[in-house]
């Protein structure tokens, strides 16, 4: 099998708050291959963003990565010094954030912000960096690239700013691009354009993309594989097509169910009852059990492990331990 570009194993990121130690990311394992698009899906508070920040080593106090390994090109990022990490950030692993409106420094021209990263990592002259930045702006589909370089962020629309952010993250040609809810703050037509752009960049530059989102529509659009997170844990992972056709975890089923379908007229959109539990509040059993309509005794007693449910598909659910119970799920599912 191909060696993954980035491999996360047993990642534990805890927050040390006044209420005690809260496991925001709890023993998370996943990997991403070269040129792959991986989607990390989950509701707010499921630990998606903390996972991505952990990879970048940008977790701020009171949070701390307390265990696990993040292997990038055969090296464990968690043992690297801050100085070594700085060489990786932006250069090897790029990141884009949710809020394009606030992700650009309002007092600097676009060009000056774009070339900052290029100059740090590539050590090019200002002129060469400037020209490279223009070519990247064109790559991300921005018109009038030369003029944009001299403009201020407030003169750009949200979609354009997000393109600038992508340009900034792509400027040093990173191996992996982490996109933390890149389309959430944008309106739907712009969302589609940005996704199209990311797909194009993935195809043309063979950059691996980790796409963090709560929007299953986004995932279906461009991801090869999906990791579903719930309450700091991975509850299901597998190929996008498999998961959409055969979701194995009741949570994933619920998520897919709650996507509006314009073809079917419904009075009320389905929603999973209850809320994501506060991390650390559930001590025993499956974290999803209180909201799960399939839950049985064992679910409240023992935390399930990730069980193989098909080729390259796993789900953290006791239903799949037992053929008969799994069959019930299948029926409901279909």
């Amino acid at each position: 099998m191909e060696q993954p570009v980035l491999n996360v194993s047993k990642l534990e990121t805890h927050f040390f708050t006044d209420d005690g130690e809260i496991p925001a990311v709890d023993s998370v394992d996943f990997h991403i291959n070269k040129g792959e698009v991986l989607g990390i899906v989950g509701e707010s508070g499921s630990g998606k963003s903390v996972t991505s920040l952990s990879i970048m080593q940008l977790i701020q106090a009171p949070g701390k990565v307390v265990g696990g390994e993040i292997t990038y090109k055969g090296e464990n990022l968690l043992t690297k010094s801050e100085k070594e990490m700085r060489k990786i950030r932006g250069n090897e692993i790029g990141m884009i954030f949710q809020e394009p409106m606030t992700s650009l420094n309002p007092v600097f021209r676009i060009g000056n912000q774009l070339i900052e990263g290029i100059r740090i990592h590539k050590k090019w002259s200002k002129k060469k960096s400037w020209e490279h930045a223009i070519s990247i702006l064109k790559l991300v589909g921005l018109p009038r690239a030369e003029e944009l370089m001299n403009e201020y962020p407030h003169q750009l629309s949200g979609g354009m700013r997000q393109r600038v952010m992508i340009a900034m993250a792509m400027a040093c040609d990173p191996e992996v691009l982490i996109a933390d809810e890149p389309t959430t703050a944008l309106d739907v037509t712009i969302q589609a354009q940005i996704l199209e752009l990311m797909k194009k960049l993935n195809r043309e530059t063979n950059t691996s993309i980790i796409l963090i989102t709560h929007d299953l529509g986004v995932v279906a659009e461009i991801c090869d594989r999906i990791v579903v997170m719930y309450s700091g844990k991975i509850v299901e992972q597998g190929k996008t097509s498999d998961i959409f056709q055969q979701p194995k975890h009741p949570y994933t089923i619920g998520l897919i169910e709650s996507v509006p379908d314009v073809r079917v007229r419904k009075d009320r959109l389905y929603s999973i009852p209850g809320n994501v539990p506060k991390p650390g509040s559930i001590q025993k059993g499956c974290h999803f059990a209180p909201r799960c309509s399939f839950a049985f005794d064992k679910c409240f007693e023992e935390d399930p492990v990730l069980l193989e449910t098909g080729s390259n598909q796993q789900a953290r659910c006791w239903l799949h331990e037992d053929e008969k119970k799994a069959a019930v799920l299948e029926r409901v599912n279909s």
């Binding site: 990786i88 950030r89 650009l104």
Partner: protein
């Protein structure tokens, strides 16, 4: 990227009216509409010009004593009258602008530089560093500022330079706390996180991203602080701890002439007026700058 290269020539044309608007230019547009602020700027500019061209404008030197013309009331030859040594009050006030502006400007520059740096460090790194720096500020602010200034001058010895140092020191915590609180909010902005995600060093983030975004309140506070610094310098000189005779410092002039307030009120009135006008000018300018640079603080 090769496919895009030929387009390069096409996009060069630029509409002449499409000017790039920097945030500073935007602020200036707002500032110009503010009449009071423009008046303030006028007063400040007036005193600055007075200070620069004192040698040309002043009718007489600062120490030209004409004992035959002691304590003369304002007249065509001495617009602001003369003092007890027969010196022209107008000339001394014009030269005094140099001293007051110099003290105000450099004292504030010093406290802004030191205070901002401490505030940046405290706000950005937080934790123990923040605790230590903030507690030092608290201790300094626990003293009435003029008392602290007097103590500093008492240690250093009375002179104009030491008064300047004292004023600079007592204003440090004001800037420090202002910048610290600003940094705490700027630090949370996503562009700071984005800068870290690009691989930027802390020092670069502090000076390239956090400081420029904290500049507006520093400028506003700086302008207002010049007014206070001028007032404090005058107060210290009045108490005999700042400028020494025969320096034509306005506070010193007040102190020297106060025994003639009944006989020759102009010797007290005009230096006092000069102090009041400069302070008013800087305050109006500072308020105007605040309205222009920080629209959120507008009432």
């Amino acid at each position: 990227m090769a496919e895009i290269a030929p387009q390069k020539q096409v996009n060069v044309s630029k509409q002449p009216d499409e000017e790039v608007i920097s945030p500073w230019r935007e602020a200036w547009k707002g500032f110009r509409r503010n009449k009071l602020a423009m008046v303030g700027m006028g007063i400040v500019l007036f005193f600055i010009l007075l200070a620069i061209f004192a040698g040309v404008i002043a009718p007489e030197g600062i120490n030209e004593q004409k004992l035959s013309e002691r304590l003369q009331s304002p007249s065509a030859s001495h617009w602001f009258g003369t003092d007890d040594f027969g010196r022209d009050v107008l000339s001394r006030i014009i030269y005094g602008a140099r001293i007051s502006l110099w003290v105000g400007f450099f004292a504030v520059l010093g406290s802004a530089a030191v205070g901002s740096l401490l505030g940046l460090v405290a706000g950005y790194y937080g934790r123990l560093v923040d605790t230590i720096i903030s507690r030092i500020f608290d201790i300094m602010l626990a003293f009435p500022s003029i008392l602290l200034a007097i103590a500093v001058v008492a240690v250093l010895g009375p002179s104009l330079r030491n008064a300047l140092i004292a004023i600079a020191i007592i204003n440090i915590p004001n800037f420090g706390r202002l910048v610290r609180s600003r940094v705490l909010s700027v630090k949370q902005e996503e562009y700071v996180m984005a800068a870290r995600a690009v691989g930027m060093k802390d020092s670069r983030i502090i000076f390239h991203h956090v400081l420029p975004n904290s500049l507006a309140p520093i400028i506003v506070q700086g302008t207002l602080a010049i007014a206070t610094a001028i007032l404090e310098a005058a107060a210290l000189s009045f108490l005999g701890l700042g400028a020494q005779a025969p320096q034509p410092e306005w506070g010193k002039m007040l102190a020297d002439s106060r025994s003639y307030i009944i006989q020759a009120p102009w010797t007290v009135f005009f230096p006092g007026l000069a102090i009041m006008l400069t302070v008013l000018g800087f305050n109006l300018l500072g308020d105007g700058l605040r309205d222009a640079l920080d629209p959120k603080m507008k009432k």
